[in-house]
Structures are given as structure tokens and as C-alpha cells.
Symmetry: C2
Subunit: 290 residues, 2 copies
């Protein structure tokens, strides 16, 4: 099943009662740093602190009552687990989340706070998949994949749809790319506007822990079909971008979101009007010195 | 000369072209932490990253042309110096800022960026005062004290005036108290609304480096006349409040601003509608682990 703009528009209507319509932030100091007019779609201010709440909510709210009664399930070490847990609890549905050992205490606490049932597994992709399969078989729950799912892609696209509604004359929109769900949804929502996708050079070791996976066949095909320009950014550029945003806009963004700012800067969009999907703000503050 | 609400209203009109009308932020997660409905007047999003821009702008814009031509001067290790430098450059006037050795590189860079002339002195209050006196005598500049100045107090009060204009039915408004300029201006702007002032227990060693001074005779008299409730908060409570705000609202606030959140929590305003003047967001990111 393919996804088109109609799906994104339907998703927007479906999730509107449950998600924040996040603001578009402006900062002349950030503009000076970027050398462009930057419009920040503030998904770090979304519920759960990330755009992931949009896709998870669209998926959960799309279920039939019979499906919903069996619950939803995913494996996640991060924002998708929390988003699915909240989306499920909003519908009064059970979420089963498989989390690897070593996931941050803050993220585990968020998933617990929203009432999900957590199963802990070894910290390998194989273990996560096989434990999730067991959970799905045991419970009959519906799997909600973090990005390889048309409902999740359509939900993710609603952020860009809102952005372009608020700021119609953008020259380009930039997103981070991990599994490609956000970037896919963005392309579909706002084509033919130019879309740029930023990725960390080394996914395995980057501080951008939300971007550790690569695209699926589905999201890769969508990016290619829309001619997304992909830019790879180095770790120092990610950290520099994160610091620039913290310092100049006073917004706490996570490294995965900073990848989009770093890519926008690397693209040298001098004087252009640039939208950035600021994907999330969940930083582990235990790492801070205070 | 005393200050009354008319001065604050005049200041609001005078500075309007030069300052941001900052938003009032809401967060249900912060409300849950506080146990009250919190309305955050976001002065960390003010120009220069602090409410100080209001008072400095009011002072500089109040000068006669003859006064302005001589320039303005202050000693400051922090936000007031940057605020005065920007306010002066906005009017095309010279700012002379006396900064102690050991002031943070970020703060010194901000003062320089706005074109002020910096004189460095020893890091004692005596040295700061005597070097400032020399500068005033040499240049004929007009001193703009960071808080013991009716123009600065009136300017600081404009933040609360805007807050109460946006949210008229607050039960209390909380500010940090260092020299008392912000708290004084707030009382004058919104009396008879209840005002609570928060201070760190040990000003000399607190992370709240914007609150290292105590009140002057003038600001003390204003606080007393308005019956401000003063609450002292411990360092762990300040840090906990700062983390709660960063984590739950994704806003970078500085420790001095966190003092107001800590005081509001300590006041146990259960279920009340509480305004907080979030005084600034200038944190030295060199201390961060990235």
C-alpha cells in the first residue's frame, strides 16, 4: 500500500484531538548562524517530546475496535516506545514495548509512566525482533513499526503539513533521516517543495541515537521517488549545531534533531527560507554536570 | 524618586519597538510537577536571553540626546552588561562595561559582539566600583545601575505587566530576587496581586550567579511596602527545578531563573494559577559534556 498526500491529510484530522499543533519558532540569532531564514517546526515541544507521537497516534487511532482490544506492540529503545505507550493509553488500549537492556533509565521511566507493559531483552536487533515476535504471538497485539508502516509515515508527515500551512513559501524543508519515516512523510506531505535529509556519518556511534537504523525498502523508495537530497554530517557538526540551537534559541533539542540543523547549514542555503523539522528534545540530563 | 505603575506603563510604551513581547508558555508536565497551573513568562526568549534587556533599554531610551551622546556605563559580569551594550548600540550610543577578570568567555563575547568598550578589572566589588568611577569620570558617561535605578526597575516591571495582560486571573506571581530590581518592578506593575520572591540560601556559592548581590535600600523598601513573601531555596532544589524545566518544557533556563520555579514549588500553591517570571536562559554550555 502506498502513501499519498490524502493519507497525510486524513492523519492530520484523525490525530488533531490528541497531539499539539506545535509552534514554528523564529530566532534572528539562529538565522545569523545559518545564513538563512530558518523556520523551526518545534516537534521537541510535541507530547512525549518528539514527532513520534504523531505516527503512533495515527496508527493507534486507525485500528478497528477489535484490533485495538488486542493491544499494540513494538520494540524500541527510545521515543517510539514512549509515543506508542501514550497513544495506546489515550485510547484505553494496552501497549507492549520490548526494550533492550541498557536503554536509558529516563526513556524506560517514560514508557512505564504511560502504562505500557515492558519486556526487557538483550541489546541486539535479533533479540529485539525475536522477543517482539514472541510477544505478538502470545498477545495477538498489532505491531506498530517505528517507521516501516504507512500509518506511521502518514502521521509523521503531518508536522510538515502544518509547517507549510503556517509558512507557505519555503524554499526547502530539512529533516533528519534514520529509518526514513519522518523524511518520507515530509516528502509526501509537501511535494514538490525541495526536501533535504540529513544523516550522521556513522550511525552506530553517533550521539544521534534516534538515527541508528537505516531506511527500509518502503521509505528508501519514497525518498528516491521524491528526489530527496541526502547530506551526511560529521559528529562535530552535529554537536556544533546542537549547541548553536541551545544557545541561540534556548530550546533543548536532542542530537538526532540537531542533525537536521547541521545538514541545513552544510547545504549552504544562503538567504533562503528554510523549514526544519526539529524532531525531538529528549536528552538524558543525567549526563549534565549539575 | 519613587516608581509607580505609571512609570511601568510608560516604560512599556518606550521599549516596545526594541524588545520582544515574549510568549507565556504552558506545559501540562510542568503543571504536574508543580501541582499548580503554571504560566511561564519566557524572558529567556527575550533579546540577550534575559529580562535585563527591558530595564537597560528603558534607561537608554529615557536619556536626553545630550546625555546619550556621552554614552552609558556599568560594571557587570553577566547579563546586565550585554543588555546595556545592545540597548546602547540600538540607539547608536557608546556603552562602557567594566568586567571582572574571570567573567565567562561567553558573556564577554556577548558584550563585545554588541560593540561595547570593555575595561577589565580585578574580581572584587571594590575594584569594580573604583574602575567604574574612573570610567565615568573620564568619559562623562551616564551610569546605568543593574537594579538600583528607577528606569531599570520600571523596565523590569514590564514583563509582569505583559503577563498579567495575557493572563489576568493569576493567584500569584513568582520572581527570583538578587538585587531586587525584577521583583520590585513586578510588585509595582501588578499590585495588589500576590508576589513571591525566591532567593538562593547562599548567594556567594550558588549556581544562580545572577543573584549574587542583595537588595539596595530602594528595592528593599519596595519589596517591604508591597508585602512580598520571600522564600529561600537550597541548591539541590534549584538544580532539581532547572532539570524539571529543561526536561518537561525543553526550555534552556539558567539557574537564577530556576530559583523562581524552586520557590514556587516550595510555596505549595496547590491548584493555584501561578505566573513565573523566567528571568533568563544564559547557561555556559562549555560546562556541558559534549
Amino acid at each position: 500500500m502506498s502513501v499519498d498526500r490524502t493519507h497525510v491529510e486524513e492523519a492530520a484530522r484523525r490525530i488533531a484531538p490528541f497531539v499539539h499543533r506545535t509552534p514554528v519558532l523564529r530566532s534572528r540569532s539562529l538565522d545569523a548562524w545559518m545564513g538563512a531564514d530558518v523556520f523551526v517546526k518545534a516537534e521537541h515541544l510535541q507530547r512525549v517530546g518528539a514527532f513520534k507521537h504523531r505516527g503512533a497516534t495515527n496508527a493507534v487511532q486507525s485500528l478497528t475496535d477489535a484490533e485495538a482490544s488486542r493491544g499494540v506492540a513494538a520494540h524500541s529503545s527510545g521515543n517510539h516506545g514512549a509515543a506508542l505507550a501514550l497513544a495506546a493509553s489515550t485510547r484505553g488500549v494496552t501497549a507492549f514495548v520490548v526494550m533492550p537492556e541498557g536503554a536509558s533509565a529516563a526513556k524506560r521511566a517514560a514508557v512505564e509512566r504511560y502504562g505500557a507493559r515492558i519486556t526487557t531483552c538483550d541489546n541486539t536487533l535479533d533479540a529485539r525482533r525475536s522477543v517482539l515476535t514472541e510477544v505478538l504471538e502470545r498477545t495477538g497485539a498489532v505491531e506498530v513499526h517505528p517507521f516501516d508502516d504507512v500509518r506511521v509515515i502518514a502521521g509523521a508527515g503531518t508536522a510538515a503539513l502544518e509547517l507549510i500551512g503556517d509558512v507557505p513559501d519555503l524554499d526547502a524543508v530539512v529533516t533528519p533521516v534514520g529509518g526514513g519515516g519522518l523524511c518520507s512523510g515530509t516528502c509526501i506531505a509537501i511535494a514538490p517543495v525541495r526536501v533535504i535529509g540529513g544523516s550522521p556519518r556513522d550511525r552506530a556511534t553517533s550521539s544521534a541515537d534516534g538515527l541508528r537504523t537505516g531506511c527500509s525498502g518502503r521509505t528508501r523508495a519514497i525518498l528516491d521517488a521524491h528526489g530527496v537530497e541526502e547530506l551526511v554530517v560529521d559528529e562535530p557538526a552535529i554537536i556544533a549545531a546542537m549547541r548553536a540551537v541551545w544557545e541561540r534559541t534556548k530550546q533543548v533539542i536532542e542530537p538526532s534533531a540537531a542533525v537536521a540543523f547541521a545538514a541545513a547549514k552544510a547545504a549552504r542555503l544562503d538567504g533562503a527560507r528554510v523549514g526544519i523539522i526539529c524532531s525531538g528534545g529528549n536528552v538524558d540530563l543525567d549526563e549534565l554536570p549539575w
